[in-house]
Assembly symmetry: C2
Homo-oligomer: 272 residues x 2
């Protein structure tokens, strides 16, 4: 299961918690009527002033540990091509990783790949609460509201999260170019993978470069699975989407892939 955070004496909750300025998620294309809701948790490398530079160099603050380079550009390209709404987080995952629960090590990581994060080395309970309130809660509330309203409207939402990964991790080259990761329900992910094999020459794999067992499917688990919504997490190797042109070309390919995957699960639903 999830890695537990180091044991700390629990703090007494206050009846009214200190009001940290909340960082609201950004919603684009909200009037879209397509079924797909695009979610980009790691869109931003922005570290708000109150957290300084977290003790990191400028290079580190640009690197994949701070965000998913290219993921927002692909997400925007997909939103346009699929008549899909898009929601993305405005703060670096080094402050709070919106794809992690507040008690997961990775929510405010002290280390990411080969980098120590000095500003996260010893986070006091009050600071853990403050980041949860400032970043995670507005994010989760915004995403939940977006989804619940579309359920109420009869738009039958399908949740697709968009991520990118580094081609070299802990010194090892990754061969996979496009990963499709599922949580409890694999059917959309399998349909997307099959479509990728049919329509593209991408080296595509299921549950790669990691899987739900690595606790990377928090968003799907909280926001899609309990409502019975089809869902999938897409991972694109970031060297393939390093320029606006490359991201647009990838969006062209993946829009066709997602459309084919969606048609397939709609066919399955009708047949059952």
């Amino acid at each position: 299961m999830r890695a537990a955070t180091p044991t700390k004496a629990p703090a007494k909750p206050k009846a009214t918690s200190p009001a940290a300025k909340p960082f609201l998620p950004v919603i684009e294309n909200e009037a879209a009527t397509g079924r797909i809701v695009l979610v980009c948790e790691h869109a931003s490398k922005q570290i708000p002033a109150r957290w300084g530079d977290l003790g990191l160099s400028a290079d580190q603050r640009e690197a994949h540990i701070a965000w998913d380079p290219g993921a927002l550009a692909v997400s925007r390209g997909l939103a346009q091509r699929l008549d899909a709404v898009l929601i993305h987080a405005p703060v670096s995952r080094l402050v709070y990783d919106c794809n992690r629960a507040p008690d997961m090590m990775g929510a405010m990581p002290a280390r990411s790949e080969v980098h120590d994060i000095p500003g996260n080395a010893a986070i006091a309970t009050a600071e853990r609460l403050a980041r949860t309130e400032a970043v995670y809660l507005p994010w989760a509330t915004g995403l939940h509201g977006l989804i619940a309203k579309r359920i109420a409207l009869g738009l039958n939402p399908v949740i697709v999260t968009i991520h990118s990964f580094t081609p070299v991790y802990h010194g090892k080259q990754r061969r996979v170019e496009f990963g499709v990761i599922h949580d409890a329900d694999p059917h959309l992910s399998v349909a997307i993978l099959n479509a990728a094999h049919k329509l593209t020459r991408l080296h595509a794999e299921l549950n790669a470069p990691y899987s739900a067992a690595d606790d990377v499917t928090h968003t799907l688990r909280v926001q899609a699975t309990p409502y019975g919504l089809p869902n999938a997490m897409l991972e694109i190797r970031n060297d393939l989407i390093a320029t606006p042109e490359a991201a647009a070309a990838m969006a062209d390919q993946l829009a066709a892939v997602l459309n084919m995957g969606l048609v397939e699960i709609q066919r399955q639903a009708k047949a059952s």
Copy 2:
């Protein structure tokens, strides 16, 4: 799985939705440091003025179809005895049942037991959205925030929802007095049931008078399961808690039962 709502043409979402006055959940005993978070979705029979009387008689608006009589009194008794925080919904489940997703029939039921609900007979999509925004979203957001903050604080929350049920349903007498219902993870429910058998003379059963298969565990499914939190739904036959004295006596019994159940799952967690 869940009963689907009748098919309706999906409505176009607006970029800014009409601001319906939100009905915020009530949180009591927020400074409590006990692990248990008490949740009472059906605490209130209140129908706000904008929904009139939903076409129901005064008797119907007092009946179990509108709320869970006695559940709030028992919840408050438990909150006091267990040093537990309590959250309850301020609006009748006939307007919106906070233990149901927006696309479930039961969220805004057109019929409950033997009663037609005229005000819910033909709910337009815009009205379905308005009720979701006015009642369900503030409820879900408030409960999620309460839980996430306690996770961040290291308080290891355990979610227990408190319900009551009618002794006679569709003309049949129910023999069960105390039901413990689980969602995906049964371990807290089983520990509570065993404690009830040891400590009380209540006729107690697992997954009675209904179970997760009847789609009654929405709150647990959305708010507890995705975070890996131990959880259970308690159902008390409402003729046993019809007076303040009876509710207090039940709270005495169930506080001991919940404490024993909690000790048991903590023992199991240590042993594993």
